[in-house]
Amino acid sequence: MIETGFALSWIDYTIMIVYFVFVLGIGWALKRYMKDANAFLEAGRSMPAWVAGLAFISTNLGALEVMGMAGSGAKYGMLTTHFYWVGAIPAMVFLALFMMPFYYGSKARSVPEYLKLRFDEKTRGLNAILFAVMTILASGISMYALAILMEKVLGWNFHLSLVLSAAIVLGYTYLGGLSSAIYNEVLQFFIIVIGLLPIVILSLQDLGGWDGMKDQLAPIVTAKGYAADTWTTTWKYTGSAAANPLGVEWYGIAAGLGFVLSFGYWCTNFLIVQRAMSAKSSTAARNTPLIGALPKMFIPFLIIVPGIAALVLLNKQGSGFTLPEISPGHYNYDYTIIALLKQYLPAGVLGLGITALLASFMSGMAGNVSAFNTVWTYDIYQSYIRPVTADKASDDKHYLFVGRMATIFGVIVSIAAAYLASLFGNIMDFLQTIFSMINAPLFAVIFLGMFWKRTTGHAAFTGLLAGFTVALLHHGLTVPEGAATLVKGGWICNLHTYPVEMAQNFWTAIIAFSTSAIITVGLSLITKQKKTDEDLKGLVYSLTPKHVETDIPWYERSSTLAILVLAIGTILTILFW
C-alpha cells in the first residue's frame, strides 16, 4: 500500500452510508414513474433547467477529471483553467444558443437520431455504434479506476469494490433510468463542492492565502526555468511554447482547445447533450448549458487551486506532504487530491471528501450507462433489430423492457471493460485520444448539417469516416517528445515530433475537423440532396422559424444568461491573464 493510505473511523463510514442510502432511495422513489421508454430513457423530457444544468456539468466532473485536473494544477498551474474557460465556455454558449434549438426542436431522442433525421440511416448507424462502444469502455475505465483507488487508499478488496460499485450503479439506474442518473448527478455536484471545499480553504490558509502561495511559488517555478508568476497566469506566457509548462502557443490553445476539441466535446457528446435534451421545454433546453456554465467557471478554484497549493507543499521543508514517485524526482500527480485529503482532513470531513470522490466515480459510470441505454434502445435496437409496430401500447412496454435490459447489459460489459483496463495500463489515454478523433469530425458534420441545408447524407457519412481515418493516420505518424509507448503515437513511423502530448492532441483534432469539413462540403456539392425543404424544417437554421424571446421575462431569456456567462468568463480571464 502506498504512503497515502488511510484508515477510516465510524463517522466516515456513516457519512458514506447515508449518501448511498439516498442515492438508492432516489432511484427507488422514481420507480413508479417509469411507465414507458420515454420516461426511462429520456426522463420524460421534464427536467427543470437548473436540474438539467447542474447535471450537465456534473456528468463532466468525473473522478478521473477531478483527480486529473488537480494533478494538472500542480504540473501546469493556472494554465489548466484553459480547459474550463476558453476551452469550455464558448462551446457551451454556442451549444445553448445555436445547436440546442435543433437538437431539442427536432424531437430527436439522441444525437445519432438527429443524424438520421438530418442525414440518413448509415450516418446514424456509424455514430451510434462508435458512441455505444466508447461510452461503455469509458464506464468500465471509471469502474476500474475506482476499484484500484479504493484498494490502494483504503485497503478494500479490488474485486469487491468493483462489483459493489457496479451493483449500486445498476441499482439506481435500473430503478429510475435517466431521471435517477440526472437527479443523482445534481446530488453529486453538491457533495463534490461541499466535500472538497475544506481542502481548498485549509491549503490556502496554510500557505498564507493566495498571495502567500504566489510568493512561495516564485522560487519553485523559477527553478524549473519559468518566470516567477507562470503558475498563476493563464495567457501571459503563451507567446512561445518554451515559456509555459503546457508547451503550446496561444493559437494552439485557441484553435485546438478553444475551438475544435471543446466544440467537439460539448456540442456532440451525447452523454452531455442528453442532459440538455431531457429539459422540460425549449427555453429550458437552451438555458441548460448556460446554467451549467456558471458553476463550471468557478470549479477551477475548487480543484485546480489546491493542485497548485500541493506543488508548494511538495517543495516545502517540513510540510509532511508527499506524493508517490514513479521514478526518483518524478511524482505521480494523479494522487494530488488524495494526498491533500490525507494532509488536512481529520475524521469526519475526511469521510465527506472520500464520499465526494466515490460519488464522482459512480456518477461517471451511471452517466455513461444511461447514455448507452438510450443509444442502444433507440438507435441500434429500434433501428436495426426490432422496429416500431402499429401497436403503440405494447411497443411502449417492450422498449421499456429493452431499456432495462440494456442497463443490466451495459453494467456487465462495463465490468468486463474494467478488467480489460487492468490489463492495459494506458487505456484511459488511449480512449481520450480516440474520443477526440471521433468528436472533432462529428462536430464538423453536425455544424455543417445545422447551418447549410445543402449538406447531404453521403457527404456526412464519408466526412465522418475520413476525418477519423486521417486523425488516426496523423496519430500514427507523429510522436510527442519522450513518448515511451506506441499508444502515444508513431506506430506507423515517426514523421514529426511534437514538444508535448497536448500539442499532438490539438493538432490531431484540428486535422480531423478540417479533413471532415472539407470532405463533407466537397462531397455535398457533388452528391444529390435527398431531403426536401419540408423534411429539413426544424433541423436546419435557414428553414427554422426564429426563436422569439419577447414573451419571456428578461431574467429567463437565453440571451441574458449568455451575456452573463460571457461577461463573467471575460472578467475571470482578465483577472488571471
Partner: protein, 70 residues
Amino acid sequence: MGIDIKFPIGLMFFILGLFLTFFGLITNGDTALYSRSLGININLWSGGGMLVFGLIMLFLSWRSKKAKTP
C-alpha cells in the same frame, strides 16, 4: 419528473450536517485530531454549513410544494 429533488438533497445534507456537527461538538478541543486541520474544528464548521444548506433546500422545496397546491 415526479419528485422534487430539492427535498432529498435538503434532507441528506441536513442529516449529514447533524452528524458532523454532533461529532464536531464531542471532539471539540481534541488538539491531536484537529492538528492537521490547522487547529480549526473543521467538522463543526462543515457540519454547520451543511445544516444551513440543507435547511435552505428544504425550505425551497416546501415553498415549491406550496406553490403547486392551490
